[in-house]
Amino acid sequence: MPREDNPLMKLRLTDLSLRFPRTVLLLAALLTLLFAWQFPKVKFDNDPENMLSANEPVRVFHHEVKEKYALYDFVVVGIVNETDAEGIFTPATLTRIDQLTHELLSLRLAENGLPEVRDFSRGGQNPGGYRSIDLNPESSWQQALNVAFNHQPNRLFDEQGQSVIIGRELIAPSVVDNIKQADLGSLKLEYLMERAPTTLEEARIIRDDAMNNPLYAGTLVSEDEKAICLYIPIIKKTYSHNVANLVRNLTQDWPEEDEVYITGLPVAEDTFGIEMLVQMATSAPLAGLAIFILLLLFFRNLSLIIAPMVVAIVSVICTMGLLIGLGYDVHIMSSMIAIFLMPIAVADSVHILSEFYDTYPRFQDKRETIRYVIGHLFRPMLYTSLTTMAGFASLATTPIPPVQVFGLHVAFGVGLAWVLSMTLVPAYIMLLVPQKKLQKLTPREKKEIPAGGPLNRILENLGSFSTRRWRPIILLASALVAIAIFGISRIQVNDNPVKWFSPKHEIRVADRVLNSHFGGTYTAYLTLAETQPGICDCEANSNAMSIEVEQRFAEKYPAAVATFREKLAELKKRYGQISGPDVSRAFVELVELAEHLDSKTTALWGELADEINYLNPVGLNSRTLHERIAPLEEIPQEYKRILHEYVEPQSELEGEELLEAALEITDLYTADSFVDFVYEMQAELTAPLFKKPKILAYLAQLQAHLAGNPVVGKTSSAVDSLKKAAYELNYLEPPGGLSQSEQAAYQERNQSYNAIPETAAAVAQVFVQLEGMKKKDSLFHLITRNYQEANVWVQLTSGDNQDMAAVVKDMQVYMQENPPPTPMKIEWAGLTYLNVVWQDKMVKGMMTSLGSSFVVVLVMMMLLFRSVLFGLLAMLPLSFTITLSYGIIGLVGKEYDMPVAVLSALTLGLSVDFAIHFLERAREIQLKTGNWLETAKQMFKEPAMAISRNAIIIAIGFTPLLLAPLVPYQTVGFFLATIMGVSWLATLFILPALLTPLQKIAFRKPEDEA
C-alpha cells in the first residue's frame, strides 16, 4: 500500500469503512432512524405568502388593510349555465344557489366530529333538519396520503368548533343588500334574493336588480347573465381546499347544465400545497424508481445498484428529518428537497459505481477496486460536492425565508450524500455485494469492454471528433451562446400561482371560465389615504366662510355679516395655527354668535312657523289662521302682516293646503338662518376626506381610468354604493299614461341622481343609509369608519404578476399626471399584489445568489486546480448550460417564475460536476500520457462513460416529473433533462475542443514538473 500522505488522507474515510463495514452500515441505519423519528412532528405550510418574511412591510400592510376593511380570503365559487335561454336566472338554478348559500351558512360541527349542514332535500332523511357530510376521499390511497400528511378533509372548524366560513361576510345573492323601489314610492332594503324565486318573473326581477347594481354586475352576477359567483370568506387561507371540497360535495347532485367552478388565489395556493405533498409522495419515488431501472440497465447488477439508491434515500430522509426536527414547516420549496437531492446524491455514487464496474475486472478484488476508484474520485467528488453545496447555500442570501431554508438543507443533504458515498457505498459493497455475482458478471463484461458497448463506441468517436473539429465546435458553441443571450433578453419574468397547475387542472379550467364571465377572480386592493391626516387648514376654512357669508347674507343683513366676519377674523387669529379639537371649539363659538344674530329675525320667523305647523288643520281657513296668530306677542306685527298679505290672495285655501301656503312664506325667512349656515359650513369644511364630493369625484375618475386597463375587469368603491343609493333615494316613479318624451324626461331626471351628491352633508346622509343596510358594515369594506381612507376593490382577469405590476405602474403614472385635489398616498394590497412583491424579491435575490455562488465556485475551482485557466475552463460548461437553458426559456416563451428561478442553483451545482470530473481526470491521464490527443482518447473511455451514464440516468430518471399535474414539477423534470443534456455536451465537446488549442498552456505546468 502506498504510504504517501495524500492517498492516505483521501482514503482514510474509505479505509475505515472497508475495515468496519458493519459499523458503518449500523451507524447509517441509526442515523436514518434518528432523522426519520422526526417525521411525525411534520408541519406543512402551503402558503406562498410565506415566501415573504412575516415582518416584510408589504405583508404587514396587506394584513393591516385586511383588518382595517374587514377583508377576508375568498373561495370563489362560480355557477355557470350556458344552456338555458335564461342563463343562470331560472327558478331552479337560483333555488339551488339559494340552498347552497344556506347550507354553507348552516355548516356546523356535529357530535360525531363530522360536518353537517341544513338539509334542503325534499326527499332527504331529515328535511329542515341537518344532514351529515363526510369529505374523506373514498380511495384508500388518498386516505393513506391524507393520514401521512396530516390532512383532514373534514377540518372545517376552528379550535372552538366554529365554522371557518365567516357567514356574516358571505357574498351571495341570498345575503347581499339590495336597495330598490317598492310600492307607493317607497324604498326597500332587503337581500338581493330574499327568497328563491318560484316563477320566471321573480327570477327576472332578481336578474334586473343585480344588473342594476354596479357593485354586483360583473362581480356577483356576470353581465352576460350566464353565471353567478359566490365569494366565501374564510378565516384562514389554509382552509380553502377543504371549503372547495365541501362546495363540490354540496353541488355533486346538481344537473350538468349548472356547472360549478371553484377558483381564487387562496384555493389555488392551498390546493397546490396539498397536491404538492401528493407529488412529494408520488413523483419523487417514481423518479427514484426510474433511476433504479436505468441503473439496472447500465450495470445489470441488482445488489450493486442498490448502493446509490440507499445513498439517495438516506440523504433525503436525513435532510427532511433535519428540517422537521429543527422545527421548520415543509413549504412548497422544501417539498422539492427530495427531487433536488436525489439526482445529486445518485450522481456521486454513480461515478463510483461506474468506475467500480469498469475497473473491477482489472483488480478482481472488491477492496482493491474500491481503493483504486475512491483514490481517483476523491478529489473530484469532494469538489463537486463542495461546489454544489456552495450553489445551494448561496440561496441563503436571498431575502426569501423558505428559499433560504431550502438552500441550506439541500447543501446539508449534498454534504451528507458525499460522506455516504465515501463510507456507506464501500461498506455496502464489502458486505452485501457477493463476490460471486461480480465474478459472474466480469468475464462477460470483460469481453465487452474492449469490443466496446454501443455507448462506448459512440463516445470514442465523439472524442476524436471533439479534438479534430475543435474549430467548428467552438464556433457553433459561440453561435449558440449568442442565440441564447438573445433568448435571455426576451425572458419574461412572470408568475401566477394558478398557472402552477397544468392547463387541464380543474382550477385552471375554473380560472379560465370564470374570468371570461366575470370582472375577474384575482383581487387587489388599492387604498387611498390623506398624506397628512388631521391637519386642518383653518385659514382656508375661515376665508371660505367669510366669502360664503358675504354672498348669502350681505344684501339682507349687512350688519350681521360684518359682526360675523369680525368673529371669523378673531377666531382665525386665535386658532389659526392650531388644529384638532380647537376646530370644534371655534365652531361652538360661531354657533353661539349665530344664535344671537338669528334671535332678532330668523328665530322669530321660526317660532311663527312652529306655531303654524302645530295648528290643527281641521276647519282652518285664512280667517281662523289669523285669529290663532294674532295673540302671539313675541312675534313682531310686521311678520304677521307679511304672512297675512301672502295668504290673503289665496283665500280659497283651507286646512292642510293653507298650512302649506303659510309655511311657504315663513320658510323664505327661516332659510336665512346663521345657525344653519354655521352647521352647514362645519359639515362641509370639516368633512373627512371621503365625504368631500370633489375627492369622491377624483376616486371615481381613478376607477374609470383603472377600468380602461384591459386586465382590470371591474373596480368597486364606496362611490359606486353612494351613487346607487343616491339614485334610489331620489328616484321618482313616472306616473302612468305618460308620453314617451315625458317618460324620457323622468328617466333623465332620475339618472341625474345617479351621481355623487353635491355637498358633504348630502354625501354623509346617504352614507348613513348605507351604514344601516341589512348586511351590517358592508360599506366599511370600501371605506374606513371615519371616512378618512378608502379602498378600491380591483378585480383582475389575470393573476400574472406582470399584469398586476403593469396596473400598479399605470396607476402611478396616472396619479402623477392627474394629482388628486388633496395630497393622497395610494398603496396596494391583496394576494395578487403580494405575489408581485415576493416575486420581484425572488428574481433579484436569485440573481445575486447566482452571481455570488458563481464567484465562489470559480474561486474554488481555481484553488482546486491551482490554475486560473482550469478554474475558468471548469466554469465553462455550467456557464454554457445556464446561458443555454435560460436562453431556451426565453425563446420558447416560458416565463421566469419561482421554480425556474430556484433551478438556477441546481444548474450551477450539477453542471459544474461534469467539468470537474472531466478536467481532473484529464489532468491525471495527461500526467501519464503526456500527450493531449492520447489523453483525449482515454478520456472518452471510462471517464466519459461515467459522465454519460450520470447524464442519462438523471435526465431520463426525472421524466416521470413531466407527467405531474403541477407545472413546477414538470419544469424541474424538463430542466433536469436540459441541464444534463447541455452540460454533457458542453463537457464532452467544448472542453476537449478548447483544450486542443490550449493544450500547451493548459498542460504546461504538469509537463514542466514531469
Binding site: 348552516s106 366554529q162 356574516r168 312652529d610 370639516t686 331620489n730 346622509q765
Partner: protein, 263 residues
C-alpha cells in the same frame, strides 16, 4: 319577551306598585308581557336624548346624538320620531316610525341635505339601526307572539326566560335568553345563540334609574360578539307624559322638526 331596552321610555304603569307581590307564580308568557310593557310602553309618551357610541372591532368609535320622541297610540301601536342632532353633517336628519300591532310598521326618512322625504318599505326589523349594533327591533320592540317563551330559572331577583322563534327562517338566532328583573320587570340582559349553539350577540342594560316613577334604562349596550363591534346608548333628559301632539309624527314634521327636538 325579549323586548330589548334600547328605549328607556319604559313604562311600568299600573303594574309597578304591585309587581313584586304578584310576581310569584307568573307564567313565562306573563313575565314576557310585563317586561314588554316595562321596556317599551312606560307613560303615555316620552322623550329622551341619546348619545350613541358605535365601537368598531379595532376600538375606533363613531358618535351620534339624537332625540327620540315616543307616543303610545292605543294599547299596542306606537309612534316614534328620531331626530339627529350631531354630527353636523347629519344634523336635522330624521326618522319616523309607526309601529303597528296588526300590520307591518310604517317608516319614513328625512334627509335635509337632499331635501328628501322617503318612505321605507317594511322589511326585516332585525337589521342595524343607523349602522349601530342595535336592531330596529331593539328600538321598537319585538312582537311577543313571535317567539315561544319558557321560564328556565327563577332566582330571588331574576327570571331567566328562554325564547324560541316560531318561524326560525325569519330570524338569525336559534334562541335567546333574557334575564328579567323581578322588581321592575326590565330585562337586564339578552343573549342570542346561533344554530351552532354559540353565543354571538348580547344586549345589556348597563344602568337603570327611576325617572318620573318609571324604571328606565339609562345606558344600554349591544354587542356583536362575532364581528367584535359594540354600541352603547346613553340616555339623558328622559321625561315621560309630556303631552306630545300626535301630529308631530307626520311627514310635515319631518321637514320641519317639532319644538320638542329642535331645542
Amino acid at each position: 319577551m325579549k323586548k330589548i331596552l334600547l328605549l328607556p321610555l319604559a313604562l311600568l304603569g299600573l303594574f309597578l306598585a304591585t309587581a313584586p307581590l304578584q310576581a310569584a307564580g307568573l307564567t313565562a308568557d306573563e313575565i314576557v308581557a310585563r317586561a314588554n310593557q316595562a321596556s317599551y310602553y312606560a307613560g303615555a309618551d316620552g322623550k329622551a336624548d341619546v348619545t350613541m357610541t358605535i365601537k368598531a372591532a379595532d376600538g375606533g368609535t363613531r358618535e351620534r346624538q339624537f332625540t327620540i320622541l315616543r307616543l303610545n297610540d292605543g294599547p299596542e301601536d306606537q309612534k316614534f320620531y328620531v331626530y339627529f342632532q350631531a354630527p353636523a353633517d347629519v344634523r336635522k336628519m330624521a326618522f319616523l316610525v309607526w309601529k303597528n300591532a296588526d300590520r307591518e310598521d310604517d317608516r319614513w326618512l328625512w334627509l335635509p341635505a337632499l331635501n328628501l322625504v322617503k318612505r321605507i318599505a317594511p322589511g326585516d326589523k332585525r337589521t342595524s339601526f343607523v349602522g349601530s349594533d342595535f336592531f330596529y327591533e331593539d328600538v321598537s320592540g319585538r312582537g311577543i307572539d313571535e317567539d315561544t317563551h319558557s321560564l328556565v330559572e327563577e332566582t330571588a331577583e331574576t327570571y331567566l326566560v328562554r325564547n324560541e322563534p316560531k318561524d326560525p327562517g325569519s330570524v338569525e338566532f336559534a334562541h335567546y335568553l333574557v334575564w328579567i328583573d323581578k322588581t321592575d320587570f326590565l330585562p337586564r340582559k339578552a343573549e342570542y345563540y346561533n344554530n351552532q349553539g354559540n353565543l354571538y350577540r348580547r344586549v345589556e342594560a348597563l344602568r337603570v334609574e327611576n325617572v318620573n316613577g318609571h324604571p328606565t334604562v339609562m345606558e344600554s349596550q349591544a354587542s356583536d360578539l362575532k364581528a367584535g363591534t359594540s354600541t352603547i346608548n346613553s340616555f339623558s333628559n328622559v321625561s315621560y307624559d309630556i303631552g306630545l301632539n300626535k301630529r308631530i309624527f307626520s311627514e310635515r314634521f319631518l321637514r320641519r322638526p317639532p319644538r320638542e327636538v329642535s331645542q
